[in-house]
Subunit: 325 residues, 2 copies
Amino acid sequence: MPERVSQATRERIAVAVTATGYTLNQAARSLRRQRAGTIVMAMPNAGNPYYSTILDAVLAEAGHRGYGVLVSNRVQGDPTIWLRDYFLSSRADGLLLFDITLDVSGMRRFMEERGNLPIVVVCDEIIEPGFNLVTSDNREATGRAVQHLVDLGHQHIGLVAGPTIHDYPNERTLGFRQALARHGLAMREDWIIAGDHSIGSGYQAGSQFVALDERPSAVVCANDEMALGFISSVQQAGLHCPRDVSVVGFDDIDMAQYVSPALTTMRQKRAELATISTSALIDIVEGVRDPAKPVRIILRCDLIARASTAPPKGAAVRPAREFRF
Amino acid sequence: MPERVSQATRERIAVAVTATGYTLNQAARSLRRQRAGTIVMAMPNAGNPYYSTILDAVLAEAGHRGYGVLVSNRVQGDPTIWLRDYFLSSRADGLLLFDITLDVSGMRRFMEERGNLPIVVVCDEIIEPGFNLVTSDNREATGRAVQHLVDLGHQHIGLVAGPTIHDYPNERTLGFRQALARHGLAMREDWIIAGDHSIGSGYQAGSQFVALDERPSAVVCANDEMALGFISSVQQAGLHCPRDVSVVGFDDIDMAQYVSPALTTMRQKRAELATISTSALIDIVEGVRDPAKPVRIILRCDLIARASTAPPKGAAVRPAREFRF
DNA sequence: ATGAAAGCGCTAACAT
DNA sequence: ATGTTAGCGCTTTCAT
């Protein structure tokens, strides 16, 4: 209540502040209030440009609410170790966990021990109950990506899949399989190529694709970076996109519209995802939100149709076996 | 000196630690030691994927040395405000200042007041004495980019320049101008197109290029993102790269080798820049380094020749004026 | 409406 | 080799 301070006192303070250049000591404040005023943003690899937009939005929202953002890459291995380190040390008040292939059972055990921790899982495809979650409709969106290809006339559709470290099914892969079944299309395991979301793995997937005896006429890639690598690879092998193969990506990274052919993709609202999750996390930290009701926000993706998809020129082709590759 | 603790005591401690799940309270430690154990990485816009690799390397090096990394976007305006906030509040011990178009005189004033602050300027093109600096040989490297085009036979070379917020000359633009002079090439001001390092601005520069009455046969772009946008733009306008225009980028972002045509570019050793600067900053923070001798490390860039540059098909062409654009 | 005092959890200095 | 103590700068509570 600023009204409770008299005008005169406020004057005196203001003068003293500017005169001495006083600034609050955050360490002392944190110690006394048992609150760091900081959240951690943890991701598998900060080197992925996918996170640029997200980081930007997290920074903005956290800053807006007076929180600092500590960024961390080290979220492999036993979660109890780093969870302990972040929370018990009062280094941070909350954790934004991005796309982590986490040891869910380990997390659960730790959280049962220590009571509910302010953690929000973001952009993850693993929809486990009990965790606060802000993500996209990955499964359904991948279904719509397939739908888009089917609408164009494709009957033979492959997948460049993302990493599948754990047993539980990857949502995008699941969505792909279900969509194929729904459309009564053949599901060929050799048309599902494994990747790890990096451009390089997309490029490799392209080589595998080119070497296939029979090739699908379209491919869904689990993210844009792999799609870009894939297209680059098949183009270098002498194939043309979309004439020889249509490609759909996922995410709509900034680059997607500036490559050629411009990439058809399912747009994830990354900035929104970041803002919502950050805001929710801080609500939890500040006790505004009822901890009994986990956050559970799933945003819809939008199909952005660009030039990398087109009707197929025919059925799956038996390739002439002499690629310069 | 771990030897000074008896085996028995060490046992007792270890047992107690695991039993109680004790973790050091960082806030208390920071308060007592007057040191945060944290550095700030400040950049103009975290949304730029250029920083992904850098962030990754900074995180690795800082973590290695036991420091947390606070990321910040808010470095516009009066530097005294945010400098005060970071340092006087003991929120952070040091500052990594990336590519900031900063108010140098304001910085100077503040640093004179407060004594030498642990700040390392990184990746900046502004080479001001007195600051700790880790950067690339921007001017010289841009000269080599021009050299590469000249070697291919180009006589008419344009520039898509980066942002020039301040009065002092941009190093890359300067390198370009000097190189042109050195080779005795004409310097046409309408062949210098302004950009802001974003893909979008490169795309716009492409439109301007296409609309030119007389066009250069090659263009140097001040960064890769603009180069990608530029190529995308001119290709959509019906021109071919490198047949109609050769393009050199700057940075060698991950994407550069996977676009088509693969981008010729001057590679900045971004990870190295990040590791070196982080390490130097922590040295300064810890008093290992003599503050009287500012750090001054300038790395050489490497020309990565790819498919976006080729010999010109002829002299600067007078375009037929009917682009579908 | 303002002042005084206790204490958050650590570390460094000093005492044993 | 181990134990004790003061105090970092803030916030909160209690007293004026």
